[in-house]
Amino acid sequence: MRQWNTRKTLREERIAAGGAFATGKTIDPARLVDFLEAVLRPSDRVCIEGDNQKQADVLARGLAAVDPARIHDLHMVQSGVVLPEHLDIFETGIAKRLDFSYSGPQSARIAKMLFGGKIELGAIHTYLELFARYFVDLTPQVALIAAVSADRHGNLYTGPNTEDTPTVVEATSFGSGLVIAQVGEIVDTLPRVDIPGDQVHFVLDAGRPFYVEPLFTRDPAAMTETQILTAMLAIKGLYEPYGVRRLNHGIGFNTAAIELLLPTYGEKLGLKGKICTHWALNPHPTLIPAIEAGWVEQVHCFGSEVGMEDYLAARPDIFFTGPDGSLRSNRAFSQTAGLYACDMFIGSTLQIDLAGHSSTITANRIAGFGGAPNMGSDARGRRHPSAPWLQAGAEADPDTAAPLRRGRKLVVQIGETFGEGNAPLFVEKLGALELAEKLDLDLAPIMVYADDTTHIVTEEGIANLLLCRTADEREQAIRGVAGFTEIGRGRDTAMVERLRARKIIQRPEDLGIDPLDANRNMLAARSIKDLMLASGGLYRPPSRFRNW
């Protein structure tokens, strides 16, 4: 007779074994490693948060300290590989296989370990993909999560950085897995309940808040004239003509410059209320001046940002907040919003090839994807119309009858022709391809596919790929905005001029922009201090961003 409850039975066994090192649900902090050795089994599928921003750092340290003779060959399924401990466990053999999305600070080490065969790679996912697989074939058997606080029943308050937690807990707990939460404190009454206690099996009082990284703070003081020029081009050449109201911004300086130009340059162009009203966006400090100037109607957030908490709580008309007043973020929902409900994604990348594929992966750095491919892709399941979506669709496909014609999401890559260390943005062959060859991958890790990319903005101008009718036109449109890179210098000048006549390429002067007007005085805030002052003192920047 088949047993139909082996998973639940296994969970009961884990709970019983872990109970030896806990009082009720509360783990004895001094016995954390013993506890983890008791509840884990070799080859378990384990999810550790491991998010974009917040980290279950104490649990990660505990996991890295378990005896590899007892616990080994774990299959880690986590969105963010961020802490050194996340990779240490692969060095020691505690873990073997990895499915992940993003690895910002560990991108160089993860590459080295992949080449060295220390990690058996499942796949590099987008966030939504990985979350989806939590419910299909990568359901965690054990989840190690992070929250701000818990009560005696194991109810959790995740605070502004809720991020991945509800998704991870949903899949794990209802998939008969074990949920272990690290919290900063255990309290009698929570400000709000983000995760119900009956989905949480054990709680560790870490005695201090989880580690969280300010990833989305861009210091206006570091913004260059060239970045400001690209921002001006985007506003006047894309936001205005398409009337983009619902959108997502990447985290680079170019898009931060756009945010800071809205109340100045955008205002001058009379665009207030006509663009940039609804966002799927982390709470970028650089958006404060636009919010304060009344540009923004609503923002839903993937996560939070260190120092923004009080400001967000004081602007509940704009941000999603709980009954306690603090921000409620949710990565899975916000990613879905970015995919289906936004008309534009605009972000930076490291490399673009002649077809228009782009990637942030180079041969030595595997930064992963995060959410950009979700935002930066055309949602084939989209059915609701909007003016920008329809207009982009018409540009791409003028011949199909309007009622049968799909719209297109605007997917814009923005950057300077040369990036950090004078590395060219435009390349003949993507580093991602070299990586795929080196690791013998079936699929090169492309962040945004060429057929999703609609525009490229550089200081030299805007290339509208929707209007290109042949591969040749497309290549010359890209070369035509590639500046002095080798790709740019290899352009067919006559053809580029023809593309310009058809407005496939638009130069600053074609848009009435004098590059010499692009200066820092146009920024609504020129320093972190300006942002703090614009927030009425509600934004409290972390010490590392201060110069006061």
Binding site: T264, K529, W548
Partner: protein, 300 residues
């Protein structure tokens, strides 16, 4: 976009001078077209700058002739090399000879490492020239609010000036945060804790303890107005003034020598909520400082 505040912190040396003096009144001495570059940087395969990172010359403020100098903090951190230093020395000797006031916009990390010995002597020469110019009746007004702050020998030169005007961003110190951390450890000085760095060395703290005289917003116009006022103050440097400074500095050690943190000093000055000081806007802070600060009037 008109009526935009011009940030002193962001401005270059030439922009600072333009903001400071009467329109079209500035005449540069040994300008960039002379290409009097550092003879030493090429040893290190480093690019030179045509003015060696300092602009000096004659100008007028409200019609009154002055001598002006501005360091370029972005070139080699505004550091003093042989040529850079000699331009300022010459200007200060001219101040003494002409009995003419000098305004110096500091923006420096101190001595330029690649020509350390020349820079070190240059600082000594400049300090002597400042003191002698002041003894001859010239005012030497220092403005501090640039990216590089005013460190090392720059801090010592600033300490010789008759009046110091500082913004919040301006830091005045001898050893830089990284240098202290490297030599004495992160427990002694955490250079990455920028809030701590500014609390210990920044313009607000210096204003409160009397290390600077006038606090202004990060605004070129504010610096100009403050410089105008400073040029109207009594001039001179004599025994009485230095005795007063001796007493002032002794009193500071007696009162605050055991204070572990700037906020303890600020509380000791009578400020009820010292934690609120760093985030205070300039105007509010200036009012508060006027009430509680240690003054260095006639004691510098």
């Amino acid at each position: 976009m008109s009526n935009v505040r011009q940030s002193w912190y962001e401005a270059g040396a030439r922009e600072r001078i333009a903001a400071l003096v009467d329109a079209a009144s500035f005449a540069e001495f040994i300008g960039p077209e002379r290409r009097e570059i550092s003879p030493h940087l090429s040893i290190f395969d480093l690019p030179a700058q045509f003015d060696d990172g300092i602009v000096v010359g004659a100008a007028a403020i409200d019609g009154t002739p002055v001598l002006v100098a501005a360091q370029e903090g972005r070139f080699m951190g505004g550091a003093f090399g042989e040529v850079h230093g000699a331009k300022l020395t010459g200007l200060l000797r001219a101040a003494k000879a002409l009995g003419r006031d000098v305004v110096i916009a500091f923006d420096t990390g101190g001595v330029r490492l690649q020509e350390a010995n020349a820079g070190e002597i240059a600082i000594a020469e400049i300090m002597r020239a400042v003191a002698e110019a002041r003894m001859a009746g010239a005012r030497v007004v220092g403005l501090i609010g640039g990216r590089a702050g005013c460190y090392g020998g720059g801090g010592l030169i600033a300490g010789c000036c008759s009046t110091l005007i500082v913004s919040e961003q301006g830091r005045i110190s001898v050893s830089g945060p990284e240098v202290i951390e490297t030599n004495k450890g992160v427990e002694e000085f955490d250079s990455r804790d920028r809030g701590f760095v500014w609390r210990t060395m920044g313009g607000k703290h210096r204003t409160l303890i009397g290390g600077a005289d006038v606090f202004v917003d990060d605004d070129a116009t504010a610096f100009r107005e403050a410089a105008r006022a400073a040029l109207a103050r009594p001039a001179g440097l004599d025994a009485a003034m230095l005795s007063a400074e001796q007493a002032r500095l002794e009193r500071r050690i007696a009162r605050f020598g055991d204070a572990p943190d700037a906020t303890d000093i600020w509380r000791g000055l009578g400020i009820a909520d010292p934690q609120a000081i760093p985030d205070m806007p300039a105007a509010g802070f200036a009012d508060l400082a006027a009430q509680y600060r240690e003054s260095a009037d006639d004691a510098r």
